[in-house]
C-alpha cells in the first residue's frame, strides 16, 4: 500500500537538475524565472534539486564546451534511472551559433538521447513549462515500463 503511495508521489513531483554546459546565460535566466511567483512551476510539482543524484529530469542548456564535456558525462552518469533529458534552447540541440567553434563539442545527442527539446533562443518561460510537463509524462511512461 505504501509502495503505491510512494509511486504516486514520485509521479506527481519530479525534481529537476539544471546543468549549464557553457550557455550564454539566456536560457538559465529563463529557467530561473520559471520558479518565480509569476510563473511558479512548483504548481506542477517541480523542484530544483541541488544534486544530480536526487533528480528525475535533467535540463541541459548550452552547447557542450570542451571544458564541460567530461563534467556533463560524469553528471549524467550519476542520475538514477529512469531519467529524462531535456534540452533547453537551441544550443544543446544543435550548438546554435557556436556550431563549428574550436571549443564546442556538442550537440548533446552525441552523449545522451534527448527526450524533449524546447526550441527558442531563449524559450519563453511558458514554453519551458510546457516542455517540462511533457517531460513528466515521458518520465511516467518510462517508470511504468521499468516495472
Amino acid at each position: 500500500m505504501f509502495e503505491k503511495l510512494i509511486q504516486k508521489g514520485l509521479e506527481k513531483s519530479a525534481w529537476l537538475y539544471h546543468l549549464n554546459t557553457g550557455s550564454c546565460n539566456g536560457c538559465d535566466i529563463e529557467l530561473v524565472s520559471v520558479i518565480t511567483p509569476r510563473y511558479d512551476a512548483e504548481r506542477f510539482g517541480f523542484k530544483i534539486a541541488g544534486s544530480p543524484r536526487h533528480a528525475d529530469i535533467i535540463v541541459v542548456s548550452g552547447p557542450i564546451t570542451s571544458q564541460s564535456r567530461d563534467r556533463l558525462i560524469r553528471t549524467l552518469a550519476q542520475v538514477p534511472e529512469p531519467k529524462v533529458v531535456v534540452s533547453l534552447g537551441s544550443c544543446p540541440r544543435s550548438c546554435n551559433v557556436f556550431n563549428g567553434s574550436y571549443c564546442v563539442e556538442g550537440p548533446l545527442d552525441k552523449y545522451a538521447p534527448i527526450d524533449v527539446s524546447i526550441a527558442g533562443c531563449p524559450p519563453k518561460p511558458e514554453a519551458i513549462m510546457a516542455g517540462l510537463v511533457r517531460a513528466v509524462e515521458i518520465l511516467k511512461e518510462k517508470r511504468r515500463a521499468m516495472k
Binding site: R38, S90, R93, S94, V97, N99, V116, E126, A130, I138
Partner: protein, 147 residues
Amino acid sequence: MKFPYLKEAVKSLFSKPSTENFPKEVKEAPEGYRGKIVFHPDKCVNCGMCIRVCAPGAITRTIEKVEDGDKVTFQFYLGQCTFCQLCQDFCPRKAIELTKEYLMIAENEEDLMVRGTFIKKAPPKPPVPPVQPKPVAQNDQPKEENK
C-alpha cells in the same frame, strides 16, 4: 502594538494571485516577438539571401531538376535557429515570417523542421533556329573513321 504590514496582508488576502494561470490561459507574446518561422514558398524567388545572412546555418536548400524548371525545397531547422529575424529582414519578397507562436516543444528533430517547396520555372527557351540539313556526304567516303 503595531502591525506594520497589516493593511498589505489583508489586501493580499482578497486580491487575485499574481501567478499566471499558464496552461489554462495562454498569453499572447508581446508585439515584435520572434517565434516560430513560417515560410511562404509561393513568394520566394530562390535568391539565397536568407541562407547567406543566417549565422548558425539553420536554413538549407535542396534543388532538384524537374521538367519545367527547378524544384526548390527550403528547410528551416528551428532547433538551430537563433531567432534573430535577419532572414525576414533581408528577404526581398517577404517570404519568411517570424510569428508570435512560442510553444515549440518537440521530441524528435523532425518536429522542429519547417519546410516549403516550390517550383521555379525555367525561363522559356529561345526559339530554336531551323537547322539547315547538311549536304549529304558522298557514299564512297570510308566509314572506318568511326571505329
